[in-house]
Structure formats: structure tokens, C-alpha cells
Amino acid sequence: QSSMVEYVSPEGLRVDGRRAKELRKVECGMGIFASADGSAFFQQGNTLAIAAVYGPREITRGPSLHDRATINCQYSMATFSTRERRRRTRDKRATEISLVMRQTFESVLLTNLFPRSAINIFVQILQADGGTRCCAINAATLALVNAGIPMRDMVCSVAAGCIEGTPLLDLNFIEDSAGGPDLPVALLPKSGKVTLLQMDSKLSLDLFKQVVQLAVEGCHTINDVMTAAIRDQAVSLLGARGTLFTSAMQDRTDEDEDEPITSTADFGGEDPMY
């Protein structure tokens, strides 16, 4: 196959300098919006997704399920997210991704705890550079954790593919448009179950096993990053509330001994509110 772009160089470097099994740089954070019950952003390389969660809330219009919560998911892309300006923010592709995300989260959220209510998940893609639905799922997971909605497990997602016989992890837009197979995979890390699996183009069975295995490993790495981010946020919240000595306080030197500790630290004597 002759191609103008060399997707994997002879030294094993891809178009953006990564190795075949390397993820893009991940940045994530929670609690970015004040109005939403839970919110988060997730950035993989140049793909940036923000998610907001409202719920569980009472359903005022429309049918409700008597024994569990209804999950409502909306995925849309900003008009300036792609290189060419998009005309519409929501099209058939967005509807399909919304449906796929809803199915993914329906298997993970403990919806039977909230009958007759609705959990709304809204995801916006602000920058699109390949792997947008995976980034959206990761952002939505963090937003759900930020909202405090009980889940069986985290949902971690990454897309893997295969170009000229080499399995590649976390495709960017250039690699995605190469015409090779693109496999977005979403995984529940604790149980190891796959909740989302899609593929386009064609792939031989042994290569398929390699690519899926690569994607699953990638999901576990993403899980580590997300768990670390959640833990950091929890520690900083507890520190702000005064129920936890943060490391900043432990680093006080002898000179600080005369200064009074200004935070009202409690050693477990506070009554939790719930």
C-alpha cells in the first residue's frame, strides 16, 4: 500500500511522535461548572470534552420508569471543534453516539436506587482530534463521580486501530482517516467487562484479538489516571473543609511553630451531614 503520509515510521514513531502502544497526554479535572450537579473535562491530546450531569431529578414531563431511573444522554460537538467549521452541532452521528453512551451507562449506574427520576448527562466536544466518543465517555464518568451518583464501576474508554498490520493505541484524526479499522472500546476496569465495542473497516481475527487486547490495556491506564484525579480532588476538598491535614501543613518548619494553625482541623470529631 502506498500512502502519502507515513503513519508508522521505520523507527516505530507515529505522526505525532508516539510509539504504537502509547496513549496521548491525558488531562482531566472535575467540578468545572457551578450549576450542574457534577461536571468534568477530559482531554486526550488535542481532543477535549466537557461533561455535565444533572440528576437524579424528578421527571415532570414525559413517561417515567416505575422501578428505575431514566438515563438521558446528549452528545454534541461545538461548531469550532473541527478544522472545518461544522454547520450543525447535532447530527445523526451525534444521535448515535448519544444512544451508545446511554446504553453504556445504563449498565453501570445503579438506576434501581432512583425510580421515577431522570439522570441527564450532557457532553460537549470542544476540540476534536480523533477518539471523540471515547473522550466523551471518560468525561461523563468523571462527571458522574463528581455528581455522586452511585456506580458499579468506572467506565474507561479508548480507541485502538490498526494501520499496515501494526496495532495502534489512541488514534488521532489523521490516523483515523487513514482508512484502517477504528475500534472504540469502553471497559469496566474492576470486572474487566467490555461495555462498548464498535468497529469499522475490516480486520483479520488474530489482528482483532491483538487490537482489542491493546485497547483493554489502554483503558486500564486511563482508569489509573482517572482514579488518581478523583483521589486528588477528594483530598483537596477534605483539606479545604478542614477535616484532613494536607501535606502543606506537614511541611511546616520550626520557624512556623510560633504561628498559630489557622485552619480548624478536626480529628474525626465532626458529624457527617448524611
Binding site: E27, G29, G31, I32, F33, A34, S35, A36, S39, F41, Q43, N46, L48, I50, A51, A52, Y54, R57, N72, Q74, S76, A78, T79, F80, S81, T82, R83, R85, T89, N120, F122, Q124, L126, Q127, A128
Partner: protein, 318 residues
């Protein structure tokens, strides 16, 4: 039971008003409700010159702006007002055809999208009316007077720059007009347009556009005339600037004024229920002028500081 249902359907609104709950109008963001006591508290406070967060009547909330947030756009700016109103504006420029009745000018297209992250009612087509109202107001206030449209012409009658300004409201706590206008001004200020040159084409007598490959070469837009909007909200007998969502729930009328950097008024939009006497109107316009000029000055200072200091991008890492 059936009688009660019909009562709610037809006379519901009137009954709820009697019970002292005010329903929000669609032109303000969200359907948050406040009680009559809360509304009265806000009105009395405004009469004394104090608002719920301690501001004076003509004080803005603390605003944080950052440009270059979106990598794929030619220019972008994110503005956070008071930590709760969050607006992201992206500017993309393309080469297209000019309008038939303005062959020697560029084209400006403004679109606003209120995301469901601001309120669950904005899901699907829920925010359609709000989006259109904001987009039309922005086009009226900024579109015609602000940019030098003749400078955006490339080949008269055939090719021109089309500037797409897309504003996204990600989180809302009132005062969307002003936030969008300030973020738009900042985004236009940092917009980089690829440098082009006209070369003779193969067809004799016609010119072709050649876009430079060098990403370091670009042209900037002249924003010295781009206005900002100042929204004055009438609460009781006084008006306030930069109303929060709960203040918008108890407003009488609202007027959005476009103020240019020279201090002239370039557009007006009245919203809300209730009327304004002409005398109050003149007072409001004078106040808007003062506030608008200060707003423009502060924005310019912030942009120059950002350019000079070149600190690393924060993005969404709050």
C-alpha cells in the same frame, strides 16, 4: 381530582402567582423560581444600594478571561463571570462569497448556543429561542458597526473573508449579553487570519488567492471599534448592572446597550416585561456609557497583560 387538574392547567399560573411564586420568563436563562419574600429582599437591597453578594448597583462581578483556549479556532476566548457564568467564544474565518447587496464587504455570522450544561432545559431544542435572541442581539449590536467589513474583502463581488463567531454558554448565572460581547471582543482581538496574496490566475484578467504556508505569518483584525454590551436591569425603581440569575427573576425591564470604545451608543435592545419612562432611559444610557468604557478599558488591559506575560494556558484546570 379531574377538576383540580383542569384548574392547574388553565388557572394554574394565576393561582401560583397568588401563592407568591413568580415564574420565570423564557428570555432569562433557566426556570429557577424565587419566592415573593426573596424578590422583595432583593428589591429592598437594591433600593439601599446593596445587592445579595455585597456589590453596589453599578459593580461588575469578578471576571476572568483567557484567550487561545480552543486550538482549532482562529481565535477564542473563555470568560468566567463571578465564577458561575461561563462563556466560550470561538472565531473561525473562511474564504467565501460576499452578499449580493454588499459586494465589497466581508461577511459576519454570529451564532450562540446555550449548552445543556448550563441548565437541563437547554437540551435538544429547548434553548432555541434563547439562542436566537442572543444571536440576533449580538448581530445587531456588534455586527454592523464593529469590524471594518471593507477590510475583509478580497476580490470585490467574488471572494471575501467570512468570519464565523460562535458563542457557547456553558454555565449561566445571568448577564449573558455582556459576557458574550466581552468574550467576542477578546476573541476577535486575538484572531489570527492566514496571510493571503492575490496572484494572476491561469484565466487572463482574473486573480487567484494564494494562502501562505508559513504559520507564523498572519494578519490581525482591527478591533478598535468593536463595542461591548452593557445590560441594565431595572429592579424596583433602580437599575443594576450585571444581574445574577435571581436578580433577573425579579426584574421589571431590561435594556442592553452597545457602547463603542469612543463612548458612543451603537445599539439598543429592550427586554423583560414592564415599561421604561424616557427620563429613566436617558439616565440608564449615561450609566451604561460609563460602565461600558470602564469595561472596555479593563478588557484591553487584561488582554495586553496576557500577551506580555505569556503565562501557560490554564484551560479548564480551575
Amino acid at each position: 381530582a379531574r377538576q383540580r387538574l383542569t384548574d392547574l392547567a388553565t388557572g394554574g399560573r394565576a393561582r401560583l402567582r397568588q401563592e407568591g411564586v413568580r415564574l420565570a420568563s423564557m428570555t432569562t436563562s433557566g426556570m429557577a423560581k424565587i419566592s415573593r419574600s426573596e424578590a422583595r429582599f432583593i428589591e429592598e437591597g437594591v433600593k439601599l444600594g446593596t445587592r445579595n453578594d455585597g456589590r453596589g448597583r453599578l459593580d461588575y462581578r469578578h471576571a476572568v478571561l483567557e484567550t487561545g483556549v480552543v486550538a482549532q479556532a482562529n481565535g477564542s476566548c473563555r470568560l468566567r463571570l463571578g465564577g458561575t457564568t461561563d462563556v466560550l467564544v470561538g472565531v473561525k474565518v473562511e474564504i467565501g462569497e460576499p452578499l449580493i447587496d454588499r459586494p465589497d464587504e466581508g461577511v459576519l455570522r454570529f451564532a450562540v448556543e446555550c449548552c445543556p450544561s448550563a441548565s437541563p432545559e437547554y437540551e435538544g431544542y429547548g434553548a432555541e429561542t434563547l439562542n436566537i435572541e442572543l444571536a440576533r442581539a449580538m448581530t445587531r449590536l456588534i455586527g454592523n458597526a464593529g469590524l471594518n467589513m471593507k477590510a475583509l474583502c478580497i476580490i470585490p463581488g467574488r471572494q471575501c473573508w467570512v468570519v464565523y463567531i460562535d458563542a457557547m454558554v456553558m454555565d449561566s448565572n445571568g448577564n449573558l449579553f455582556d459576557s458574550i460581547s466581552v468574550a467576542t471582543r477578546a476573541a476577535l482581538y486575538v484572531t489570527k487570519m492566514p496571510k493571503i496574496s492575490l496572484v494572476p490566475s491561469e484565466i487572463p484578467g482574473q486573480m487567484e488567492i494564494e494562502v501562505t504556508d508559513d504559520s507564523e505569518e498572519y494578519t490581525r483584525l482591527d478591533v478598535s471599534n468593536v463595542p461591548v454590551c452593557v445590560t441594565l436591569t431595572k429592579i424596583g425603581q433602580h437599575f443594576v448592572v450585571d444581574a445574577t440569575l435571581e436578580e433577573e427573576q425579579c426584574m421589571g425591564a431590561r435594556i442592553t446597550v452597545g457602547i463603542t470604545p469612543k463612548g458612543t451608543v451603537c445599539g439598543l435592545q429592550k427586554g423583560g416585561r414592564g415599561g421604561l419612562s424616557p427620563k429613566t432611559l436617558v439616565g440608564m444610557l449615561e450609566a451604561a456609557q460609563l460602565v461600558g468604557l470602564q469595561l472596555i478599558k479593563n478588557t484591553q488591559q487584561a488582554l495586553l497583560l496576557e500577551e506580555k506575560e505569556g503565562r501557560p494556558k490554564v484551560g479548564f484546570n480551575v
